[in-house]
Symmetry: C2
Amino acid sequence: MDVSALLTSAGINVGICVVLVSLYSILRKQPSNYCVYFGRMLSGGRVKRNDPRWYERFAPSPSWLVKAWETTEDEMLAAAGLDAVVFIRMVICSIRIFSVVAVVCISFVLPVNYYGPMMEHKEAHLEPLSIFTIENLNPRSRWLWVHCLSLYIISSAACALLYFEYKTIAKKRLAYIAASSSKPSHFTVLMRAVPQSPDQSYNETVREYFTNYYARSYLSHLMVYRDGIIQRLLNDAEKMRQAIKHVSPDVSCNPSLKSCNFCAGPGPTNSFKILSDEAGGVQKLELGELTLTTTEEERPVAFVFFKTRYDALVASEVLQTSNPMLWVADLAPEPHDVYWKNLKVPYRQLWMRKIATLVGAVAFMFVFLLPVAGIQGLTQLKTLSKNFPFLRPLLKRDIMNRVITGYLPSVILVLFFYTVPPLMMYFSTLEGCISRSLRKRSACIRVVYFTIWNVFFVNILSGSVIRQLSIFSSVKDLPAQLAKAVPTQAGFFMTYCFTSGWAGLACEIIQPVGLIWNLIARVIVKNQDASYETLRFPYHIEIPRLLLFGLLGFTNSVIAPLILPFLLIYFFLAYLIYKNQILNVYITKYESGGQYWPIFHNTTIFSLILSQVIALGFFGLKLSTVASGFTIPLILLTLLFSEYCRQRFAPIFQKYPAEILIAMDRADEITGKMEELHNNLKAAYSQIPLCSQESSKAGCSPPCSDQELPASEQLKPENLEAEMIKAFQRSKSSHDLEVKSCPGGSPNRYSPGFAEIYKRT
Amino acid sequence: MDVSALLTSAGINVGICVVLVSLYSILRKQPSNYCVYFGRMLSGGRVKRNDPRWYERFAPSPSWLVKAWETTEDEMLAAAGLDAVVFIRMVICSIRIFSVVAVVCISFVLPVNYYGPMMEHKEAHLEPLSIFTIENLNPRSRWLWVHCLSLYIISSAACALLYFEYKTIAKKRLAYIAASSSKPSHFTVLMRAVPQSPDQSYNETVREYFTNYYARSYLSHLMVYRDGIIQRLLNDAEKMRQAIKHVSPDVSCNPSLKSCNFCAGPGPTNSFKILSDEAGGVQKLELGELTLTTTEEERPVAFVFFKTRYDALVASEVLQTSNPMLWVADLAPEPHDVYWKNLKVPYRQLWMRKIATLVGAVAFMFVFLLPVAGIQGLTQLKTLSKNFPFLRPLLKRDIMNRVITGYLPSVILVLFFYTVPPLMMYFSTLEGCISRSLRKRSACIRVVYFTIWNVFFVNILSGSVIRQLSIFSSVKDLPAQLAKAVPTQAGFFMTYCFTSGWAGLACEIIQPVGLIWNLIARVIVKNQDASYETLRFPYHIEIPRLLLFGLLGFTNSVIAPLILPFLLIYFFLAYLIYKNQILNVYITKYESGGQYWPIFHNTTIFSLILSQVIALGFFGLKLSTVASGFTIPLILLTLLFSEYCRQRFAPIFQKYPAEILIAMDRADEITGKMEELHNNLKAAYSQIPLCSQESSKAGCSPPCSDQELPASEQLKPENLEAEMIKAFQRSKSSHDLEVKSCPGGSPNRYSPGFAEIYKRT
């Protein structure tokens, strides 16, 4: 691949980006697209002013860029929560690190490479890309010192930046814990694997256990039931109807079935009040069959509530009994975050599920080798024209040649790659994660592994090794092999940066799926409801992509530094576009509290060490023993740094510090808020939809606080139309259970159980 | 190597064993050797009757074997603690597993191998050992089914036995925890990394922290001081002397220095009472310099005592503050078990020390390759006679040839191997383990890794791979390489079993070091004191050896099954000899509470899986795809079993179950024992030797309970002499601080601090 092919590829992608971004700046101003581009604002109840005769809306404008740039971190935190801030910090941290890397490598390493003696210089546009790589130096070159020194500078800068960033994020997480004083999850322990008892229900077993061992701190508990919510409501209604038929009319509470219109009424009807209570409450009614079946439907899982946060923490961390597979305690996830389906999975299955999904993920990794190998075929045109002779005339044209070698492979890879995150999400679901945030984090880690393996290693090694599927045959020679392969693949990675990075961001901002869906709904189906699901930010797709580009940046830094400016452009674009998307499109329903950061940190350290190993391999190939000798202590130092960070910061992201929880408990006891918090606990974790006000009060903070938009974002006048749409949608969603309603239907008006319905990841 | 060389080696070792064991049965009856062979009994105060004119004592007798055989597990538990029982269970479990393996492999696999078509049969004594191995089958042989089926039977039997054994040991551990109700360690948390405060001492910081956050459960605490015990006593005496000089005589407590004769007096003198109190107590005295220096000597480490066991457990498991490297809490080790030196190591150094010792251990592993490579040279006589021409006439003799190829290599390996455990112990000390039992366990794990690597892998692969130090160059081909190498090394492993196994056991029982030391002391130095250190059972030497033989047994089972009967003999001998040694020689000063079992379990599973992988390699070499195909699910099933055991049992060996501790707390509160336990806590963990009675009451159970010897062990009459020796030694040890006194000096009469002196591991 030469410079002209690279420029072709860059040109195509810049064109795509400019077109899409301009299109976005127009489309976003069309009132009919508000559902797609302003999901968060609509769900927050803030309405745009718009005027059908306001023609400025057909001209592209950079106002959204200005707004994204101007939004501060505190505003982000208030609007979208800690995870979003952490994600943006990842982008910022990448920008900082790669600014240093780019300055060092472009100003020192690139000239040394370019003026190396191994290759002859041609005309500028015909220069092969390998002339910019370390391959252009001859063996035992004295100039390898520049590379070694650059590696030291890069590593120190990256470690220092990572350290300070980890420190800042840890502080933010602690502040986040301390600030979220009204969270019911702090008081709640999810108890799984409650042992079965022949003569009492799970409910009684749980009560007996906790009144026995945690008498001082135990408050109450709530069992988890088998059925889905809707199913249960219907069943209960049916049972209630039959009960009323059979039982004498002097039962104290008189269930009125007619007023039950699925939680849109003024408050819960009697039938739901009874069932939302503990099963004990049901038994008191003694409605014959009803008691029996309710008990049968209990699962050996309970939310147990404690009097203080510290008590809950203690109960969740201690090994309860002498059988570690019974009475398994974890701090409960937020009510909105609970993944109810998986709560019903028996605990003793979980370890098997974990192994099974691991095996499945590894198997998928190897299946994925097939398309990757095909892509590699494309970069080698000769093999292609040999295998497909009918393509030969086409391939003889220069422009086609450029497009096929320079652009097509990475587009195909990107397209294939779209299947990965949903599948990994599915694996994480199967694995039995108890909360949505945990599931997403688990999927994120899987996608990171997958991306690094299938995009980086397989692409690099496929030429020489993968074809014989003997990648594992030479661990010792790996550094040298990688060192040989990285410069040859530099061109491919650059085009991958254009397609997956630049064009991917443009796709992200224009939201093609949502846009088309919206179009179909309005134009073809003539559905004025403009149905479109509410979106959560896809951390499990975006973080791995960010990390992959980090890996490419580090590994190419001293070997083929030409990629760095393109990467920096990607990171800058990512900063602006993701900020815009987080502020406007995605709704925060659940949070992991910054737990994505350790993934970023560890993977970045891994990338750094890998790049050092590859550099070591290259110094070995170039027979520079001194440079190799100096690289080994660098690797050891980086490992030491990693271990230190693991000791110093990682526990904060796994556990809650007792100190902070105790301080929160005391503050609440002094202000008298404790009583109120206790009263809200059961309602927050009820499987049955309760009245909306209560649950949103007790649940996590509403996705959009009352923060106002900065002035630049205030669009053109008159909010009548959107107001009307909103009012219409609200009334509609309160009468039927249409799932795919516009976010204006405000999903947080429902109880946590309903979050399951709004589930796009 | 042929059958005759093997028999030579076996003959030499059987001879050595018979001679040494007969010698032992005579030597042990000599009163002058009681110090060597009955350390435990002497330390327990039980004295043998003996009579200088009792001439039967010069005849060998098997009485000790009978006694070892007859001792039950409960007696072992009472006499030597849970760790000893767990060790004996390891031997029993090995016997059970390898009985099954031997029966299956000798009756099915061996005939199939022997009557295979690949080699011609010679005379019995000239048959090469390889004729008994799987190499004798031709490729695609239908008889490989026998091997595959045997592998299934072996694996299932091993897993079943391991499962039930793990279950039993887990129960025993729980019973041990529940039974040890008087242990002060249950109430105590070791708090490290207390943060420094400019305006108060560590002591005040600790008190402030715990009265603030653990007001309900905190009892008191005890700081750790910098100096060694003896050093501190001397320093304090000196300070006290000066204080008395300077301070007016009306100080309330009047330290009487003269009566202080290092803890042998009637009780602690005033000076030690003061210092054993908290430093706060010292400050109240206001003795000028004394206060200042005592505070300076405080380390940021404290033993914190709680009101109940559950409270201590909670405090030890919760993340205390937002900086995970401050206020690090662990459940305290037993007072006898504390490794005081390492408590003074700053906590922030520990992670570095861990990495450094890891690097050191790995480096040592590679240095050790040199002697191993030399040994391998010996087994190849041709290379030897080429390199050392002067040896040629010697090597031409048949018997020398046999000795050198069949016997010498493993003797040299065994001798080199004696350097490993002390070094690993040193690494574990450097690592900063806070207790002796933890240090031994950590050393044990290191030695296991080292043994498996250096004895098994390096010996197996040295012929083909190690010489080029390119062991890592082929991970994928490893199964096939191992499969090729294992049968060729079968002879070496058998002789290793004779020398390290059989002869090693004979050496263990005769205790050559102790015997020679004893002889020197009596005959040459004319020292009637018969000084010899008290011994602890060297788990870190014996468990790895046991595990190595297990590994050899599994890996050779279907490939070269001739080794199995010899291994079984080793395990039987080990059972008798270790039982005898545990009952008579070794003293139990500290316990890990059965925590060695997971090491045994995991390593056995590893051995099993490795043998399956090797078999898989062999089936591949023999081109039997069906057998290979059937082996892969077996490996997966074994991995699943391993994971299940990890889930089901491992947590019990890492944490205390809350249920049991709460039950113990309640029982003690009802019986009113709690108060007494609380009062003993400080004395138990005092760094300064207090009066012996107190500490032995509060400390762990005395090494020998009052259990009586079975009748067969009651030796000949008259206990006068030993009684006299004992009385003499006791009086002596109370007057000077001779370290190497005979165990009759009863080390547990001293406070825990003194355990450091009696430290042979």
